[in-house]
Symmetry: C2
Subunit: 80 residues, 2 copies
């Protein structure tokens, strides 16, 4: 069972990468309203029960993947 | 119009972050088949026509967001 974990900075203030990229794009005449840069983690598990699999993904994410002080995360089920 | 760009390493060999995180999890008895770490970029545009908006997102991604030698990307339309 395959999952994706999308981890995004809590606010624009914390998103230094995003602000840098946004400025570069604007300086090159690209028009955009906002841009944020986060992480995406794809995890595959050998677990058939969706609820239990999601619990495991959540535990891994909280253990090592994200920093609760500066980030939020969303888990999404993926095909394949 | 809001889009997400998911940028992932082309292969496990190139995914040093992913291999490190996977090892840490395994060393702590988490069971998983595979793990990859990529980037996620959220972009909002003031553009009502979906096709044109996606073209712009693609141009930005190719200009500055991803490295074609080591990464692939997928653009997805997002709510809100």
């Amino acid at each position: 069972m395959k999952f994706g974990v999308r981890i995004m900075p809590r606010s624009v203030l914390l998103d230094t990468q995003g602000r840098t990229v946004e400025k570069v794009l604007r300086d090159h005449s690209y028009e955009l309203d906002s841009l944020r840069v986060g992480k995406y983690v794809e995890i595959e598990l050998n677990e058939k029960e969706a609820g239990r699999a999601e619990e495991k993904i959540k535990a891994m994410t909280e253990f090592v993947l994200y920093n609760p002080l500066i980030e939020t995360f969303v888990i999404e089920r993926r095909e394949g």
